[in-house]
Subunit: 247 residues, 2 copies
DNA sequence: TTTTGTGTACTTGTATACAAGTATGCCGAC
DNA sequence: GTCGGCATACTTGTATACAAGTACACAAAA
């Protein structure tokens, strides 16, 4: 729930929100050049709100500025990927620790995570990738809610957006979903038994595996090419007919 | 070291940097209203760079926007304080864990932390509060460097700025320095012995105590008054003759 | 005295104008 | 054909102009 955007919000949220979605959902590929003028024309506002939106997305790491001051969708380097996954590991591990501190919280959160797993399985069976991604997000959101700290939660959301960006360019969603859900169930098992150390080990291994997979992908394709502008949210994204991930 | 600001940097860093320093160092009190026009005049630039600087500082939590769209130096609420100290505890605890993972790193970092403690003691003996604050920062920076993650490090720096802001309004620096340094030495002892659990317990207790102290202060003085503008970096800050913290 | 209304002097949000820098493509010369 | 140079069409950074909203003070009326 994107926290109820009112029509009285400043214009830049009306630019930042859809732009963020477009990047996170993979409709805007990494390396895509973003022109202030073009975005302004696209969203029917002037450059000023566009600049503010871009600056926010830069803070979030979804957009980056090149030495020549040109702006583009962030092109992740392996070091970035590793750091982001590392942050995720730190936050989720801490969530596990806090989760297990009080039995009642543990029961509640684990139940919610389990529901998310079920939904995830169902979505996978139906081949409904959108629902699957949502269910996965719900699983992690439930876990991380145990942090009980709005600031850490917000950081986690930012990080999770970056993970989504990385993943879109490197893996078929079916793959990580299938492999991931089994590991999620294993984690739930450890949580139910209250085995903190085992749960955290599992979590770290899970995240490290995902990270390695993504990193390998980026090392294979190290070309940080600046793509030509063109209308930014165009669905027929030139070369979009074939999947890009057959090994 | 503020990472070598070149004269070719965009103008807003020339606003954001001194403004951040002024807030963190306590020259701009929480609640102080910040006017774009006034800041623009003060720094000899137009409103545009000022706006970008303010937006950055808002992201960092040093500045906040009121419902009426007025901007002021952040006035911490107890819940904010608790969350910030909590984030700090999470990051420092993780740093301890990583620190103790490899003996060589542990030795190096602990040595650096010890040096910082010595400098801190010396500064305290000389009553040199500036050097003392710097030494304290060095102690924590050494610890947190063990995170080995630029992103976490940056987050920690942001958090540390907020802690500085909170502290300035609530405690005499001598107080927390004196109490803190003893606890720092105790932490070093646990680290040297490689006792992770004890070190983390100590750390958490240390941070929680500091947090409680600050929180209590803010609960005593709950008035989030908007101070009248006036020239922002004025040293004779109206009511600045007497210390505000005799209990 | 209290209350109400209005004007004024602020505030920020947005749009636009201008300046400067950079890449690109074309055209001519070799 | 290839290379050099210039013009052009971008880019962003900054300043300013305009609009709209808010708060406060002052004055007039009850």
């Amino acid at each position: 729930m994107p926290s109820a955007r009112s029509p009285f919000d400043p214009l830049w949220v009306g630019v930042a929100d859809p732009l963020r979605s477009a990047i996170v959902e993979g409709r805007l590929a990494p390396g895509k050049a973003l022109s202030e003028n073009q975005l302004a024309a696209e969203y029917g506002v002037s450059r000023t709100p566009v600049r503010e939106a871009l600056r926010l997305l830069m803070e979030e790491g979804l957009v980056e500025m090149l030495p020549g001051r040109k702006v583009r969708v962030a092109v992740p380097r392996p070091s970035d990927v590793r750091e982001v996954y590392d942050v995720r590991a730190v936050l989720e591990a801490e969530a596990v620790r806090r989760l297990l501190k009080t039995e009642e919280t543990a029961r509640r959160v684990v139940a919610e995570m389990e529901r998310a797993c079920d939904v995830s399985d169902a979505a996978l069976a139906r081949d409904d990738l959108t629902a699957l991604a949502a269910a996965n997000a719900r699983f992690h959101a439930a876990l991380v809610s145990a942090l009980g700290n709005r600031r850490l939660l917000a950081d986690y959301e930012t990080i999770y957006n970056l993970v989504a960006l990385y993943r879109h360019q490197s893996l078929r969603i079916e793959y990580w979903a299938e492999a991931g859900n089994a590991e999620h169930r294993a984690l739930l098992d450890r949580l139910r038994r209250g085995d903190e150390a085992a749960a955290i080990d599992l979590l770290r291994a899970h995240i490290e595996r995902a990270c390695a997979l993504v990193c390998r992908r980026y090392e294979q394709a190290p070309a940080p090419v600046i793509e030509t502008p063109g209308p930014s949210t165009s669905p027929p994204e030139t070369r979009s007919t074939g999947r890009e991930d057959s090994p």
